[in-house]
């Protein structure tokens, strides 16, 4: 209850500060709309169906991209953590892929993969991959060596060692990577849409900003992305509380 009250108070303070800025500076709505203007526009966007139409597309890209990126990253992270040879072979490519600006790469990926949902999920997964893979590798290596030795002496196979010891002990660090990854997935979906898409919140931002000159609608799309990000982050936190033994 206290947590909810703090969140509500924080949101109220943010909205009041935002309103004050618009009043004190006299900034026109086409540059910085007041919160009630954005709220009114949000209601109209919800009523017309346009917001859900675009949000559903982005949400599906985020969920698919995050799932694909996280699964690949956890698998790769386990391999990296367990094998120095794998780490030496793969690490340069993983770091290189992370260092290349995805904004520059995304239009090429869009063309190479046909410009459909597959291309957008792939771009999203690429952004998600790095923090989760590195977190998993670090987590796997953090398993207690004495416990590992004991399990081996009891006849545990390498697979049992991974499933019974290394992954459970790596979970807190893996969830740290998932928390970062899920917020990056939101950015990844928008970047992917900006590389080539017909719908999605990234496209709605472009249409509102460059096509309709409707700044309040652009804020509605941005706020929707923020809500999606906060919600998905919350889901990961809840999953972490359930799965990680403390």
């Amino acid at each position: 209850m206290k947590r909810l009250a703090a969140a509500v108070l924080s949101l109220a303070a943010f909205l009041v500060a935002w309103k004050l800025v618009t009043v004190v500076t006299g900034t026109p709505a086409y540059i910085l709309p007041a919160p009630e203007v954005v709220a009114d526009r949000a209601l109209r966007a919800i009523g017309s169906g346009i917001l859900w139409e675009h949000a559903a597309v982005t949400l599906s890209e985020i969920l698919l991209g995050f799932a694909a990126g996280a699964l690949a990253a956890i698998g790769t992270g386990i391999a990296l953590g367990k094998s120095v040879v794998v780490e030496r072979v793969l690490s340069p490519y993983i770091v290189a892929a992370q260092s290349v600006p995805i904004l520059a790469l995304a239009p090429l990926l869009d063309i190479w993969f046909g410009g459909g949902l597959l291309a957008r999920v792939l771009i999203c997964a690429l952004i998600v991959f790095f923090p989760i893979a590195i977190a998993t590798m670090v987590g796997i290596r953090s398993a207690d060596p004495l416990l590992a030795e004991m399990l081996r002496s009891l006849g545990a196979s390498p697979g049992q060692l991974t499933m019974r010891l290394e992954i459970p002990s790596a979970l807190p660090v893996i969830f740290g990577g998932l928390r970062v990854g899920v917020t990056l997935a939101v950015i990844g979906a928008v970047v992917a849409e900006w590389a080539g898409a017909s719908s999605g919140l990234g496209i709605l931002i472009n249409i509102a900003n460059q096509g309709l000159f409707d700044t309040p609608l652009m804020f509605v799309a941005l706020a929707t992305l923020a809500v999606i990000g906060i919600t998905l982050h919350g889901v990961v936190v809840v999953a972490e509380r359930r799965l990680v033994l403390r």
């Binding site: 026109p28 086409y30 239009p107 063309i111 849409e193 080539g196 496209i203 249409i207 460059q210 000159f213």
Partner: protein, 339 residues
């Protein structure tokens, strides 16, 4: 510390005053320069040569203007000009119609491109001449916004079609040329001055369906915020006239524009032939059907374009056309500018 009155100090001051040259009404005072900011979209490029030449050759200075040029996205520059953070911008007429309708106080004051620069472009021999034949085609465009989108909808409408009758593929990074080369689309929207040359460089000869032949829309021009336009400030007329002077100088001698652009974009020197080709193609668009660039606002094209935009649903008609333009060059000459 208090200054004490000193007879000696008084003598020195009087002596200095006597030695000072007397102000003479016959000596010309240097003009007070007015600082203005011009916002251009895209990035520094040869197509903006008139502004570079006007700055370098002193046309702006002679008009008493100290011009700073910056590049912004078109949607941002329109907002900044409206807000008075910059005095001038270059924007698509279609965007002016939409932004004005959305309550952004800017007006289009002078035409830079008398012909609409966007065309439908495709491989030679594969571009329909009748808009109705576009049905079923795959068309690449940067997005469902901007002058390219308005032009595409206008052409489709002229053929009795809508966007639902074709397959639209968006290229928000403006890389629709890559899509055409890869065979992902049959046609693309693009600037008549740029994309055909880029495609030719990749070995693709093209044909174009020119928008202004089937759905006339006004081309890009100078925009000014209402706040500046409503004052008696003469900067708007002076700026437009100096820019027109530069456009005409380049139209008469394209090399002037190429040299001015090379100063701003040194990379042009590595491929002057292409830059000159772009510039010459731009000059044709600046002229339109006239003998030389005029800067004037073609009211017939604006009426037609306004009507097209309304029928396409891109504007609702709540803001009259008269609130969207102010032909500053006609106003200072007292009559419509020659076309």
């Amino acid at each position: 510390m208090r200054l004490r009155r000193s007879p000696l100090l008084l003598v020195v001051v009087l002596a200095l005053a006597a030695c000072a040259p007397a102000a003479s009404p016959s000596v010309a005072q240097p003009p007070v320069m007015k600082s203005v900011t011009l916002l251009l979209s895209y990035q520094p490029d040869v197509q903006f040569a008139p502004f570079y030449l006007a700055q370098q050759a002193g046309y702006y200075r002679d008009a008493g203007l100290n011009v700073t040029i910056q590049h912004k996205s078109e949607s941002d520059l329109i907002r900044l000009v409206a807000d008075g953070q910059a005095q001038f911008g270059v924007a698509d007429a279609t965007d002016v119609m939409i932004s004005r309708t959305a309550g952004i106080p800017v007006k289009y004051v002078s035409t830079l491109y008398q012909a609409f620069p966007v065309a439908l472009i495709g491989p030679k021999g594969k571009v329909p001449t009748n808009p109705a034949d576009l049905a079923g085609k795959r068309i690449g465009t940067p997005g469902r916004y901007g002058s390219s989108w308005a032009a595409l909808l206008g052409v489709l409408q002229a053929g009795g079609l809508t966007a639902a009758d074709v397959t639209i593929r968006e290229y928000p990074q403006f890389n629709q040329v890559d899509g055409l080369l890869a065979g992902d689309v049959d046609l693309i929207t693009g600037f008549r001055t740029n994309e055909p040359l880029r495609l030719a460089a990749q070995g693709m000869q093209v044909d174009m369906l020119k928008i202004d032949k089937v759905a006339p829309l006004p081309g890009p021009g100078l925009i000014v915020g209402d706040a500046l336009l409503n004052t008696t400030d003469s900067r708007v007329a002076e700026f437009a006239a100096a820019t027109l002077q530069a456009q005409r100088a380049i139209a008469a001698n394209p090399q002037l524009g190429l040299d001015a652009a090379t100063v701003v974009v040194p990379a042009i020197a590595s491929d002057k032939a292409t830059a000159l080709a772009v510039l010459k193609a731009s000059i044709e668009l600046w002229r339109g059907s006239g003998a030389q660039p005029s800067g004037s606002i073609n009211q017939a094209v604006w009426y037609s374009g306004y009507d097209t935009m309304r029928r396409l649903g891109l504007i609702d008609g709540s803001v009259p056309l008269s609130d969207m333009t102010f032909d500053v060059l006609s106003e200072i000459s007292g009559s419509p500018a020659p076309s």
